[in-house]
Symmetry: C4
Subunit: 287 residues, 4 copies
């Protein structure tokens, strides 16, 4: 978030408030926006319940229109005060912000467009901005880095699961057949996923002895390969936490190995850097 | 549990017995109280079974009345002997102790009040006091500290799960719709929670091909993100156990790194401090 | 298994074959016994299938009688050759060996006694003896020691789960009530266990909105506290594997830290002790 | 993959392209083959859906015939250019390649042979070859070695689970009996597997109080022993990752302990060996 000097002081001030999180006005704006987004989401959720829609449909509709109006103004102000409006409009949040307000405007003309309101759900991703406000950024980065380090192993794991459900799905299709509910291979693969992840809806179940044996194998396999991603994430997290401790150095005696939440050096007692400044954060670019 | 001197010797003795756990009388009182609480819970549970209520309803009712009487006396004695009666009355256990005896008294006047007896369930929390009696306090503190250290990461994890179930719930609502049982977004979010936690009741299941694909994604996601909290807790526990070993020092040669249950220094053979005294316990305040 | 000298050479030889595992005759006896036990189990399982019982009921019955006869002879020989027959008869395996042959003898006199044949299932515990034969004893001991070290933490975990299912079971009983299938608190606790362990049969499910909210909480809780036992076992296993490596010392250069399956010292190349002799095994006493 | 000199230059060139992965032509061939295999799999899956079979059955059948023709040519060329044709024909991939093309040829003569097309599923195992192309070999080897190191512990774990489901299955069969759906011990063991792995289809559920108690025990047991394989895999992975770091040495200063993905020595800055060359890979023999 570079603090470059704008020629217009108004644009500059708006930019700091709307895009920044370091001033108190910027924080207040972010919190207000989050409350507005959550309220708008709750209304969308409430409108889908027939009883609520019948009783409070009209007032809810007006609150929703009002919030959409506010979001429209916010979108236009963001476009106005951003130093690079096109870069914002093409960014992830720029597209989501536009898609979040469109459905309400085109709903009267296109039937079924009101369903597109669910796109607004993607706006709650902004809730992760709040992590920066409450100082949870460091732990969030630790988790992200661990997942990033493990991405190759997780990819291999998911390929293996994909191949297993294809093989077991095809097997059960041949064994049980359409007369027991396994009407096609895609449906049988769906059954294999339901079984290997230990969800077990019970909407399609094997009926023959051989089918039950295959199902038992699938369950035991799913039950035990669950250990693999857990092992991967744990090992990476362990690694990250250790190397992170190595990174935190006391500015006075330069000894490392301090606890994540330590505020003072345990060897010489001098104050350590603010935990949230210690590591260069993986910023989710916002412009 | 400071052992401050009371002016009245009776009050003092009662206080040591009822609130303390270090004298043999205090231990006997705690064990007796736990048996009474468990008996009273079993009666509440048994009374809810229609067959038992029909056959033994009357004697069970009298035993319950008797136990409630005992709990009332216990509550009054606690108020009497506590050096700060108001502090006790406003504490967690003070409120629970009162709420546990009230329902029986107001049941004849307020219909349905007997259901409030389930508040008595909260009294079984006192069972954790027994941990101090059997020397399990240290392990209990280790687990608590690990969970406390991991609280930020667990919060981030639950926020992510919350956002995921909202998005998947809304998606499946739009795709499947009320005609396949997904009558509202809250109900669809309930389905998403049932699926992502791999519970899989099977009371609502997707019927269309697209819905099944979304469901499969939800399952695979739920199956693999389960690895994240496990990784977090394991890494923290590992950390805690290591730093705990570091803390235990031999009083003779002052070398550290002893096993949790070691009684003697493995370097010089001199006796180590009692395991349960080694770490300052995270006391669940009782007054 | 002390090799004390018996006065009768026959008794002595029988003792070494039947109770020992170190001679080739003793190993052959153990493997033969295991095959006989597994065959007898397969027959019990097969007899419970109506189609098989109808077609092969008579020959299966005769094979079963023959095997029971063999087991009876084995039991009597064990009693005869054991230096302390009463100690054997009162030991775990002594009681199981007797209970495994009794049902067949009392079945003609006591109706329903044939069901007691399932006690024979306990005999398959002897399969763990084979671990000693195939050299898996060391890994089996490592797992056992880890579980033993973790027993206090696992006890605390199960107490917490017990309290949680009691509280959630009582809550759902009050909220949903008998009209939605929650006919008593024990049945509601059963539902809470089905839900918190993420099994999710779907035979009893909440119908009201509040009930579904409580169910969602139970699921999310169950989903995440599963992380706790995993973390405990992993941390203990990690610990055990590390301290085990410390224990294995090269007899030549006395450096430690060798891999579990290493046969030669990685520092000086001299042969290490046989892996299965390295640690004093936690023998499951057999006399 | 020894690069031995063939007398025929054509045979030699074909061998390098078809069996090798180190030339760009060899990589192109592998990727083309993978696309052909995946297309053929998608057609088999699509043909099993009645709606698709009705609408596009004929064109799909001709594409399938064409692909089978290509696979036949590929199989014959492999036989021709392999220095040891019989060794290839008897290898895992040689048998799978033959079985993958046979069903289409014998389908007109043997009814039901078209079902054998599912054997073609086994060809997707070749997808793991692509790991070598995208540089994921190292992580794949790390996972494989961890599983290999843990094989003894996993075997002990599965033996324990096998004994537990036999005991619980027999118990529930005796308690619930055929009138509640538990018609035989094998079916009851299937129920025990469904329950202990927390799948919970709900097709067979206990009806009596005692049966529900046994079921609750099975669930809690299954829920917590899941911790054991996870602990095993995590501990082994941790071990492997540590010893792997030890193996990577800087060719300049010969210090070890570099991150898996490090490209330069963190002590002297000189370039490290290519990550995929660092460890001798566990090749899945292809000839």
């Amino acid at each position: 978030m570079e603090q470059e000097q704008h020629p217009h002081p108004l644009k500059n001030r708006l930019y700091v408030i709307i895009f920044g999180t370091h001033t108190s006005a910027g924080r207040a704006f972010d919190i207000g926006l989050l409350i507005a987004i959550l309220t708008s989401l709750c209304i969308v959720v409430a409108q889908s319940v027939p009883e609520i829609q019948l009783a409070y449909g009209v007032p809810l509709h007006y609150i929703e229109l009002g919030l959409t109006g506010l979001f429209t103004i916010e979108y236009l102000v963001r476009l106005y005060c951003s130093p690079k409006p096109f870069a914002y409009a093409r960014s992830y949040y720029g597209v989501v912000d536009l898609l979040a307000i469109l459905p309400t405007y085109i709903a009267p003309f296109v039937p079924g467009a009101s369903y597109m309101v669910v796109i607004r759900m993607l706006r709650i991703m902004r809730i992760f901005r709040i992590l920066r406000l409450v100082g949870y950024l460091q732990d969030s980065n630790l988790l992200l880095r661990s997942l990033l380090m493990a991405r190759r192993k997780v990819f291999i794991f998911f390929s293996t699961v994909g191949i297993l459900v294809t093989i077991f799905g095809s097997l059960i299709y041949v064994i049980e057949g359409p007369e027991h509910g396994f009407t096609s291979i895609p449906k049988s693969i769906y059954w294999a996923i339901v079984t290997i992840t230990t969800v077990g809806y019970g909407d399609i179940v094997p009926q023959t002895g051989l089918g039950k044996t295959i199902a038992s194998l699938t369950m035991l396999l799913g039950y035990s390969i669950l250990a693999v991603p857990t092992g991967i994430i744990t090992a990476e997290l362990n690694n990250e936490m250790k190397s992170h401790r190595q990174l935190v150095k006391c500015p006075n005696c330069s000894k490392s190995g301090h606890e994540t939440e330590a505020m003072f050096c345990k060897y010489c007692g001098s104050e350590l850097a603010d935990p949230d400044q210690r590591v260069v954060p993986v910023e989710t670019s916002d412009k």
